[in-house]
Amino acid sequence: MRAILALEDGRFFLGESFGATVSAVGEVCFNTSMSGYQEVLTDPSYRGQIVAMTAPQIGNYGVNALDDESAAMHVRGFVIEELSPVASNWRSRGTLEDYLKTWGVPGIQGIDTRALTKHLRSSGAMRGCLTTEDISPEQAVARAQAAPPMEGSDFVKEVTPAEAYDWDPDGRQSRAWTIVKGDGTQTEMTEDGEVFAKLPPVKHRIVAYDFGMKRNILRRLRQEGFQVRVVPATTSAADVLALKPDGVFLSNGPGDPAALTYVHENIRGLMGRTPIFGICLGHQMLGYAVGGKTFKLKFGHRGGNQPVKDLATGKVTITSQNHGFAVDADSLPADVEVSHINLNDHTVEGLRHKSLPIFSVQYHPEAAPGPNDASYFFPQFAEMIEAAK
């Protein structure tokens, strides 16, 4: 079946539909990761977005039960050059196409995704409409133009949990995934052959604000000995402090950070009262909480190859990123320093408070998908909490 991807500036692409046969509008962005489409599809930070993969052949290894980054699919639409005719991997439990159908998400294949990427690169991220309906491309363009803009949108309210809960109390979901060894040193293997490392005992109890948190953040926290109480985005500072946490974690999430003024306030109330670590949207929230601002990047950073420099050590880390906004370095007060920068465009990638136990990174130390190189922030958070005790 035919599908149309139409952009608000009038450009459109005709392709073939796969997945659900419905229409979707949202901000169209591209991701340059060569693997990890299942994680991308289920990352709540993509809420409200139509995602195009620059890698041309997608779906090769199917989908499996473990690589979901949340309980649902969040992208509004999925754009690829070519859908794999087969799901070929021992971990696969289904095809990408069926997966999209299950979640009611439309996909388009057979379009020139490089042309789309170049267009977004030069014209900036923009709204689009992905449809399988029998409408003209002009009509689809009109729908794209009618979609609400990303700026000012609060998508967090769509993905934050309704109530607080304890993450993985029995330690089943957080074990670090690994691969089987010839000498049989792993002991924990599930029925479907997936193998896990054992979890360490719990050392710290923290509260995590869930703005649309990826599961692997929760897993990584637990793997470092954190027991996590997950709270909704609207939870007040007082309610959090009443839980007497050893620290507070601020998660990733979708949408425009400027629109979340209620979150900025709550975080301000936590500063100085407990150690804080933020990732992605959480990092931007901290930026606002300390008095800074964010701005919208032309087409964002989405991929697994972004070089980030630690300004203190000079070390370069290849990072997994997914953000369309960035903290404005000039807007920051004197007691907050930029700790990390992106080497491609020199935008802010990390913040550290000079006197309080607060730090944050714009990128994804939890990877999933992408490199694990920045994973050390989780133990660093533990160290900070221990130092603050």
């Binding site: 079946m1 035919r2 692409f13 005709l14 591209f30 340059t32 990761s33 060569m34 693997s35 990890g36 299942q38 620059t54 890698a55 041309p56 052949q57 090769n60 290894y61 499996n64 473990l66 690589d67 050059e81 070519e82 794999s84 005719p85 087969v86 070929s88 991997n89 021992w90 971990r91 379009i111 020139d112 490089r114 042309a115 990427t117 170049k118 690169r121 995934w177 690994t178 691969i179 089987v180 060894k181 010839g182 000498d183 052959g193 991929g303 190859n305 972004q306 070089p307 420099k309 000079g314 070390k315 370069v316 290849i318 080497l343 491609n344 990877a367 998908p369 992408g370 490199p371 694990n372």
Partner: protein, 1119 residues
């Protein structure tokens, strides 16, 4: 970190001759390193014995030593140059091994030379099997169950511990897995162990658990001094474990791993490079993954830039060698800029939005007795790479780049006919053509699962291949549609395409080409579409309608033309500035125009025997020269190992197959301001395209295709020689068997027969009688390039063969006005041995002045008559001072780089400028240069890879590479060439001598010479009697069938220092072959011609009298 200012002078070791497992990728990496280090202000001292390399051009280093890469010679260079550091990681295994020997013997320490890039400890840990295994276990990585052995007894114990066959055997410290293999039973085990222990310089083999059928992956890692690590490229092998990665079809990036699995592999790669301790630079790490459990095993790591690094560089646009050189002198990745994006640093990981496929190029046809089964020992001689948006497109492009007369996976009119049983065997047992058999199997309706069981090739690849094959019927049924324009009967299965068509019409897009576009996106060539849509009878006459032109015309009329995409390292995230293109059928064309006058240079495609790095050398020079002349230079090539496919060699690079279709597409794209296309530099590949290009109206510059045709066409050429009064051996042409017999009778036997329009003597044979001739004609016509489906073979040339004549090669250059001789090269081996396999000498050493004069005169006359503009090569035979022309090639020859190095003038550069309109006067080259030193070129052979085959040379070329020896006298130059080619000439010991009956009276002086130098001679009865009769002391040895000890025993006991063994007759006797092949396997110098024996005598004498001295090219040529 800034660069290391404590270093001033850096010694770089090259990789020596091209051999299987070590191709021209190390010229590419060496050139990049030289450029990078010079750019940083270091003084670069280079040693490499291979004259055909760009890196050994004097301008790439401050001091260039074309000297043997042996520890002794490099020590002499170190003594002379006193470098501060040695960079051993860019010259392949050769450089690494040499550096390790220099370290172990204390030479580096004695002279205060520091190893940069990787130190000795890291190299040892990476290369030594046990040390590597220990290191991997230490960091918690999985390894195959295995053990090392130094004796057969130890080997048996290890095998018992592992407990099951098959077992993999890998000798330590050998190139490309040389000497290894898979043993399925005890007998094979014993055989491979024996060979492996012999070949390993440290007599060590690794025996391990079989991972046959596991998926195979590679990671290209880089690390800097600040411990920043990045993956440049990930590679997945289509052929699973069991086939050497160099012989596998490989794909970048990895296609079938989930992100979690990929990240585990990535983390492991970093852990490995750190644990091994490669401080800076690149490493290649290979992994095996179990297809059902995901168990991941580390196979090996190369603590240096490798063949895969070159592939990764071309696949991603990230110049690994150049960056490795910068990291070696202290820079960190973030301090180095990404040339392609300019704004972003090199500290990132390339992400690509296309698929790269590399296919190996084999030459089993050159070694009919060799075992063509692919194993863990590398057998391919080259590779082609192609880029497409999908695996399907890239695969078909790569297959048509291979120069094996195939135009895609299947349906190009060249599919073989096999029965099901054969097909099953061809799928089960890995072989060079397996990919084509996969296509046939799908055509027969075999399922992915069935084929997976036979091949263990991942289902993803199989399913994609199946998608190509199922399109065949659709194309075949399109012939009535393709007959006329506008009469397309779609016959769709679904309504999707109608919908497309309607939409496209509505929005002004062309609609009728959708189907054709689909095929093109699947990588189908016009030749495949033509063959499928216009099937031709197998016996169609030459020049018959083949549909190719028609398909092209229809395609263009429908607007189905390729778009060109940039290889930009970043999947279009950033603007790219480097015009490095590949074609695909997409929406947007990214090709840019500079407005400058352009010249397109066509490269040589994959390396193979007969066409190698020498032609790349010429193409690169053309690019450099024409850039100097203000042209925009455009390179087209498909070989990822080369300097020509480095994105900064030319102004624009098209990484594309060298077929008429693909080249014409580029010519059409670049037609504005196109000054011309150069077809003379890339060997036979572009020459074969010349006629087609010219017919399509593409301007060919330099010597005209007509002249090339005259030189190739026996009748026209004969007429020209008659006109010029130049003698040639009697010859004729034939298209049929009977014609060949008539021609042979007319010129008298023995005759040399070969197809026209081939390079490297492909299909060439010395034939002594009619029976052999008839067999030849029937079998060998296949070697004549049919070029397109349905075209008949080119004529066969039948020439009288001159026995015991001296062969002479001449390279000259002409601007159409004057002709200057580049060099007259005298071959050491007599005529009849392919010129590419002969050692040759500049200046000539035995020709009389009047003979040389006659040669020069004839050369000049022919160049003028052919109106040569550029280079020309002539081969002469001289018998009893009478000069005969053997053949003329009005193009760059294999010897052009050697001549350039010998005389200190880069002939290809001048030739390119001539093609662009300059005259030799303007270029200041009007006089032949007569060097006072001697230069010897020696060929290097792959026999050690093909155990048991006869090493005797003939008219069909068999060498893979060449080395050069330079010296004050012929002996020294020859000795150096032998040393560089390995095995080196001995200076004492026992020599076994056995010559053909007709030569027995001619060897007295030679034998006495060896005796005078202190050698002891051994001979069997015939030769022994002749020597005794001449009063020369000789020890008698049994013939193989007479008893023992015989020559074989002495070889195996290491009691022979050298063997002189000339073939006894037309058909080699079995025991001769055994002696020669055993000697080769044991690395004992073996001389098979008397002239070479005499040269060896001179060489040994020179070594003993004067010793070895080294001198740089810059000193020889006073620059």
């Amino acid at each position: 970190m800034p660069k290391d200012t404590s270093l001033q002078k850096i010694l770089l070791i090259g990789s020596g001759p091209i051999v299987i497992g070590q191709g021209c990728e190390f010229d590419y990496s060496g050139v990049q390193a030289c450029k990078a280090l010079k750019e940083e202000g270091y003084t670069v001292v280079l040693v490499n014995s291979n004259p055909a390399t760009i890196m050994t051009d004097p301008e790439f280093a401050h001091r260039t030593y074309i000297e043997p890469i042996t520890p002794e010679v490099v020590e002499k260079i170190i003594e002379r140059e006193k470098p501060d550091a040695l960079l051993p990681t860019l010259g392949g295994q050769t450089a690494l091994n040499c550096a390790m020997k220099l370290f172990e013997s204390g030479v580096l320490e004695k002279h205060g030379v520091k190893m940069i890039g990787a130190n000795a400890a890291a190299i040892h840990k990476g290369e030594d099997r046990q040390a590597f295994k220990d290191a991997m276990i230490k960091i918690g990585l999985d390894m195959p169950r295995s053990g090392t052995a130094h004796t057969k007894h130890e080997a048996r114990n290890v095998a018992q511990e592992i407990g099951a066959f098959p077992l993999i055997i890998r000798p330590a410290f050998t190139l490309g897995g040389s000497g290894g293999g898979i043993a399925y039973n005890k007998e094979e085990f014993e055989e491979i162990i024996t060979r492996g222990l012999d070949l390993s310089p440290v007599s060590e083999v690794l025996i391990e658990e079989s991972l046959l059928g596991w998926k195979e992956f590679e990671m290209e890692v880089m690390r800097d001094r600040a411990d920043n690590c990045v993956i440049i490229c990930s590679i997945e092998n289509v052929d699973p474990m069991g086939v050497h990665t160099g012989d596998s079809i490989t794909v970048a990036p990895i296609q079938t791993l989930t992100d979690r699995e990929f990240q585990v592999m990535r983390d492991a790669s970093f852990a490995i490079i750190r644990e091994i301790g490669v401080e800076t630079g690149g490493s290649n790490i290979q992994f095996a993954v179990h297809p059902e459990t995901g168990r991941m095993i580390v196979i090996e790591m190369n603590p240096r830039v490798s063949r895969s690094s070159a592939l990764a560089s071309k696949a991603t646009g990230f110049p690994i060698a150049k960056i490795a050189a910068k990291l070696a002198v202290g820079y960190t990745l973030d301090e180095v800029r990404n040339d392609i994006t300019r704004e972003t640093p090199a500290s990132f990981e390339p992400t690509i939005d296309y698929v790269v496929v590399k296919c190996p190029r084999f030459t089993f046809e050159k070694f009919p007795q060799a075992d063509p089964v692919l194993t863990t020992q590398m057998k391919s001689v080259g590779e082609a790479m192609a880029i497409g948006r999908t695996f399907k497109e890239a695969l078909q492009k790569a297959l048509r780049s291979l120069e094996i007369k195939r135009f895609g996976l299947i349906g190009d009119g060249k599919d073989v006919v096999v029965d099901d049983d054969t097909l099953r065997t061809k799928l089960t047992v890995p072989n060079a053509e397996r990919i084509f058999f996969l296509g046939l199997a799908f055509q027969r309706g075999w399922t992915v699962e069935e084929i997976f069981e036979m091949t263990k090739i991942d289902r993803w690849f199989l399913e994609n291949i199946r998608e190509i094959v199922i399109e065949l019927e659709r194309i075949a049924s399109s012939s009535p549609l393709l007959d006329e324009f506008g009469r397309w009967d779609w016959n769709y299965e679904s309504g999707v395409l109608e919908e497309f068509e309607n939409d496209r019409k509505k929005y002004g897009l062309r609609s009728a080409g959708i189907e054709l576009r689909r095929w093109k996106k699947l990588g189908f060539s016009d030749a495949q579409i033509a063959a499928l849509a216009y099937p031709m009878p197998a016996n169609a006459p030459k020049g018959a309608f083949n549909g190719l032109t028609e398909v092209r015309a229809i395609r263009k009329k429908l607007g189905v033309i390729p778009t060109y995409r940039l290889v930009d390292t970043c999947a279009a995230e950033f603007e790219a500035y480097t015009p490095y293109y590949y074609s695909t059928y997409g929406d947007e064309n990214e090709r840019r125009d500079s407005g400058k006058k352009k010249i397109i240079i066509l490269g040589g495609g994959p390396n193979r025997i007969g066409q190698g790095i020498e032609f790349d050398y010429c193409c690169v020079h053309a690019a450099f020269a024409l850039r100097e002349e203000g042209f925009e230079t455009i390179m087209v090539n498909s070989n990822p190992e080369t300097v020509s496919t480095d994105y900064d060699t030319s102004d624009k690079l098209y990484f594309e197959p060298l077929t008429l279709e693909d080249v014409l597409n580029i010519c059409e794209q670049e037609s504005e301001n196109l000054f011309g296309v150069i077809v003379q530099f890339g060997g036979q590949t572009p020459l074969n395209l010349a006629a087609g290009l010219q017919a399509a109206g593409v301007p060919i510059i330099g010597t005209s295709p007509k002249s090339i045709e005259i030189a190739e066409d026996r009748k026209l050429f004969g007429a020209m020689l008659d006109k010029l009064g130049i003698r040639q051996t009697a010859g004729g042409t034939a298209v049929t068997e009977d014609e060949a017999v008539t021609a042979a009778n007319a010129v008298s036997y023995p005759v040399l027969v070969r197809p026209s329009f081939v390079l490297g003597g492909r299909g060439m044979q010395l034939v002594h009688n009619e029976t052999d001739l008839r067999r030849y004609v029937r079998e060998a016509v296949e070697a004549s390039p049919g070029a397109t489906p349905g075209t008949a073979a080119n004529p066969i040339l039948v020439d009288h063969f001159l026995e015991d004549a001296v062969e002479v090669d001449v390279d000259c250059i002409s601007d159409g006005e004057i002709v200057v001789i580049g060099a007259i090269m005298e071959h050491i081996e007599e005529a009849g041995i392919h010129s590419g396999d002969s050692s040759c000498v500049i200046p000539s050493f035995s020709l009389k002045p009047q003979v040389k004069e006659e040669i020069a005169k004839a050369t000049k006359a022919m160049a003028r008559e052919l109106n040569v503009r550029g280079l020309m090569n002539v081969q002469f035979a001289v018998k009893d001072d009478v000069v005969y022309v053997l053949e003329v090639n009005p193009r760059a020859s294999r010897t052009a780089p050697f001549v350039s190095k010998a005389i200190g003038v880069q002939l290809p550069k001048l030739a390119a400028k001539i093609m662009a309109g300059k005259t030799l006067k303007e270029l200041g080259f009007t006089e032949e240069i007569h060097p006072t030193h001697f230069s010897v070129k020696e060929a290097v052979f792959p026999f050690i890879r093909f155990p048991g085959i006869d090493i005797v040379l003939g008219p069909e070329m068999k060498s893979t590479g060449e080395v050069m020896g330079i010296g004050e006298n012929l002996g020294l130059a020859f000795a150096k060439a032998q040393m560089a080619a390995q095995p080196a000439l001995p200076t004492n010991g026992n020599i076994f001598i056995s010559v053909a009956d007709r030569q027995k009276t001619k060897i007295a002086e030679l034998a006495q010479g060896f005796v005078d130098l202190g050698f002891t001679l051994f001979a069997t009865s015939g030769t022994g009697a002749a020597l005794k009769a001449a009063g020369i002391p000789v020890q008698k040895l049994f013939k193989l069938n007479e008893g023992r000890p015989n020559a074989l025993d002495m070889i195996k006991n290491g009691e022979l220092a050298m063997i002189i063994n000339t073939p006894s007759g037309k058909v080699a006797r079995e025991d001769e072959v055994k002696i020669r092949s055993t000697a080769t396997a044991n690395r004992i110098p073996i001389i098979t011609t008397l002239r070479a024996a005499n040269a060896s005598l001179a060489g040994i004498r020179a070594l003993k009298e004067h010793g070895l001295s080294v001198k740089s090219l810059q000193e020889y040529h006073g620059v």
